[in-house]
């Protein structure tokens, strides 16, 4: 790359980063904060400038990675959404969300295999399998609510978090014991790719169909959730509980029932995530590691915001893919795991509640 192609985008990056710094600056300003913010802005500027210079060098390739990253970020959002629902309604940081995706996926794929094995046509088998795995998720929600969360009412966040880790182990063990521990391929969506704009860029831009399906499903899910929260009685009760447990209880909202509903909805979200991720990877134990990929998404988007989960996913997906390919060339590959977390750490330092989170009015 030439010096100029670095300097111009670098300048643009610096302006952007400065803008971000002004927009995102916290309400407290100590010297340390300012130093940290300026340093972050500077690093961001250099990074963006570097990306921009690479984009100028090879616009097609850059666009391809960007689109691929954004779309794969949406797939993380699918997992993150389940976290957000539960955290919003019960203040529980549900580590078991990844395990729930595994349970849902295994229930789905195994029942589907069983039904097609009996000779049932796909058109009948798929809805039946989905119903079955929905029922499994309802059972999970019921058991977790009754035997783990209800006895732990009023404990602090850390204890609840730990108890969901305990639930994770139980779910992982049970699911593999009941449904098996192999890799079970699931083929609900196409997994090949489109090549777009072949005339414009050499080689064209590759867009994976599965990722697009994932994006579509995420969009439908967000709309459905918004409608559920806005227009149904249960949904409104849910929001009331999220705002204030005690007040909600005093106007006659049954908390246990609402929590069951929340865990059920999170279970259904897990099922949706499982259809996409199961198609992508095959349903298998490693799906539980998705929980770790969803955490930075949550931090960036905010723990309590549904749109935040989507935006956070987009940022993490694009950021880590661009970093892995362009930064990885310079410092060695394999950086995407920590890059997402470092991104989250940077956001935390500037805006602790995340981009869309409710403002935490507390000084520490």
């Amino acid at each position: 790359m030439s010096g100029l192609s670095f300097a111009i985008p670098g300048g643009i990056g610096a302006v952007l980063a400065g803008l971000m710094f002004v927009l995102l600056r916290g309400d407290r300003r100590s010297v340390v904060d300012t130093i940290v913010h300026v340093a972050l802005a500077a690093v961001t500027a250099v990074f963006l400038g570097y990306l921009a210079s690479r984009a100028i060098d090879n616009p097609g390739g850059f666009l391809e990675i960007l689109v691929g990253g954004l779309l794969s970020g949406v797939l993380y959002s699918l997992v993150a959404l389940g976290f957000v629902l539960i955290f919003k309604a019960s203040g529980v940081f549900n580590y078991a969300q990844g395990a729930m995706v595994l349970v849902a996926g295994l229930a789905l794929v195994r029942s589907l295999d069983y039904l097609t094995g009996l000779g049932v046509a796909n058109i009948v088998a798929i809805p039946l399998a989905i119903l079955f795995s929905g029922a499994v998720m309802a059972l999970c929600a019921f058991v977790i609510e009754k035997w783990v969360l209800r006895p732990l009412l009023n404990q602090d966040g850390l204890t609840l978090f730990m108890s969901t880790i305990g639930a994770t182990f139980v779910l992982e063990g049970l699911a593999q014991m009941v449904f098996g521990s192999g890799v079970y391929p699931l083929r609900l969506f196409p997994t090949d790719a489109w090549i777009l704009g072949e005339g414009m860029f050499p080689g064209g831009i590759l867009v994976n169909k599965l990722d697009v399906w994932g994006g579509l499903i995420a969009a439908i899910l967000v709309v459905a959730l918004a409608a559920f929260f806005q227009y149904t009685k249960t949904g409104r009760a849910l929001r009331a509980v999220a705002d204030d447990h005690a007040a909600a209880q005093s106007v006659g909202i049954p908390i246990s029932w609402i929590w069951f509903i929340v865990w059920l909805v999170a279970g259904i979200v897990a099922l949706v995530a499982a259809t996409v991720w199961g198609t992508k990877l095959g349903v298998q134990f490693s799906i539980v590691f998705l929980a770790l990929k969803a955490l930075p998404v949550l931090i960036i988007g905010g723990f309590t915001s549904v749109p935040g989960a989507i935006v956070g996913g987009l940022i993490v997906g694009a950021g880590e893919k661009l970093a892995e390919i362009y930064l990885g060339e310079l410092i060695g590959g394999g950086i995407e795991y920590w890059f997402a977390y470092v991104l989250a750490l940077a956001v935390l330092l500037v805006r602790p509640q995340g981009l869309y989170g409710e403002k935490i009015i507390e000084r520490i």
Binding site: G61, G182, P185, G203, G282, G333
Partner: protein
């Protein structure tokens, strides 16, 4: 208080249970380190089934090895080093004479046990994995990397690539990319590939994939943009299937990918469906299929419901488990020829390994004909074989597509000498003199 009492009873009971079991009598004990859960279970299960089935067959059919019954016990390592060490410590003292040999089935555990085995006098059988430089038995008396190392694999893979391009001289300027599991396992072939790149003039690039390997989108996007002429795949567990799927997703031609023999089994290609068609992998001499020994296992174990094997019966990794146990028990047999038909100690089995000579006749007799070539180990050569073939997945089954290639010993022997000398200096080991018989 009751809880405390209960807790102490529990702890006491577990202490009691780890005490040496005296009742096991005159058994030849073989520990089986396996993993049937976790991210690597898909590959771990068939291998463990094969390994256990062969031992059970010997017991069931022949009453053990030369009349000495085999005791064996599985221990779940989950592919984690610390659990593997715990399993090793738990099982090494069992049986009449302690563990006869250990197969760690993980390069990480192999590294840890390499430090412990000499003190405990237990040989390590690392069939086609582990420290490549441990071929040099003068420095590594207790490691037996029988049949092939990753350096062998790297060399054979490069030869196959060269053959497709029309000769080793055509490699000049070609780009070969290695997609590897970011662990000692995946990094092992790198020195060999770098040496080969220097010799043949191809451009080598390594692309790491973070454990467990479920996210490879960026790796394959960068491969798509980089357009290498060939990709070598060093994956394990879920990473293999994901790699093939992502390769299909970015439309990288699958017939331009060669996997190591740990990336060439059925669980690696089946999840990718049609996307895996054309994918190639090395064979550790054997492929899938049922041979003489399978008929025996079917008769003695499967038909009696004594085997855990299901679909994996006759698959690549199941067969490798069989061969692993075959080589191990042959070493015990060899040792018995010298020391008599009683349970062998680790030291005696080590002698058995070092004087192991599995002939064509013996392979045929044991029902392994078609699965392996004769294997002869010695003090200076703990590997004993340099050959491998290439197989290709046609969407339904593996097809052998090449003859045996022989690894480039000129390059590899130098590496073995270098690296083992470095180890000897680091550990203050004086290499044995292999010209003298022990």
């Amino acid at each position: 208080m009751k809880k405390l009492v209960a807790a102490s009873v529990v702890i006491g009971a577990s202490l009691a249970s780890v005490a040496p079991a005296l009742a096991q009598g005159g058994e030849q004990f073989i520990p089986v380190l396996s993993y049937r859960t976790g991210a690597y279970a898909v590959n771990g299960v068939p291998f463990a089934n094969g390994g256990v089935d062969y031992l059970a067959l010997l017991n069931d059919r022949d009453g053990g090895i030369n009349g000495v019954k085999i005791g064996f016990e599985e221990c779940e390592t989950g592919y984690a080093t610390d659990k593997g060490v715990e399993c090793y410590e738990r099982l090494k003292g069992k049986g009449a004479t302690g563990a006869s040999y250990v197969s760690p089935l993980s390069t990480g555990i192999t590294f840890a046990l390499t430090e412990k085995a000499p003190g405990d006098k237990i040989p390590l059988l690392t069939l086609g994995y582990g420290r490549s430089e441990s071929r040099n038995g003068a420095v590594f008396p207790w490691n037996f990397i029988a049949m092939g190392s990753y350096w062998t694999g790297a060399s054979v893979a490069v030869q196959h690539v060269a053959k497709e391009f029309g000769g080793l001289d055509k490699l000049k300027g070609k780009k070969i990319t290695l997609v590897y599991h970011d662990s000692p396992y995946g990094k092992e072939p790198i020195p060999a590939l770098e040496a080969l790149a220097a010799k043949h003039g191809f451009v080598f690039k390594g692309v790491p994939v973070t454990h467990p390997g479920v996210e490879q989108k960026s790796q394959w996007l960068s491969i798509r943009q980089d357009r290498p002429d060939y990709v070598l795949l060093w994956g394990w567990g879920v990473m293999n299937g994901t790699a093939i799927k992502e390769a299909a997703a970015v439309a990288f031609p699958r017939d331009k990918i060669i996997g190591i023999w740990w990336s060439g089994a059925e669980p690696d290609v089946l999840p990718a469906g049609d996307g895996a068609k054309g994918y190639k992998a090395l064979m550790l001499q054997h492929g899938p299929g049922q041979f003489g020994v399978h008929a025996e296992i079917k008769k003695h174990l499967i038909d009696k419901g004594k085997s855990l094997a299901k679909d994996d019966f006759g698959q690549v990794l199941y067969n490798r488990g069989l061969i692993n146990s075959f080589i191990g028990t042959e070493a015990i047999r060899t040792a018995m020829k010298k020391y008599g038909n009683k349970p062998m100690t680790g030291e005696q089995v080590r002698w058995g390994f070092e004087n192991l000579d599995i002939t064509e006749a013996r392979i045929k007799e044991a029902g392994f004909e078609g699965m392996m070539k004769p294997l002869k180990l010695s003090c200076s050569d703990h590997q004993g074989a340099d050959v491998a073939r290439v197989q290709q997945w046609d969407g339904k089954e593996w097809k052998v597509i090449s003859d045996y290639y022989t690894a480039d010993r000129d390059v590899l022997d130098k590496l073995v000498a270098e690296q083992s000398a470095k180890y000897a200096v680091e550990k203050k080991i004086t290499p044995r003199d292999c010209s003298k018989p022990d």
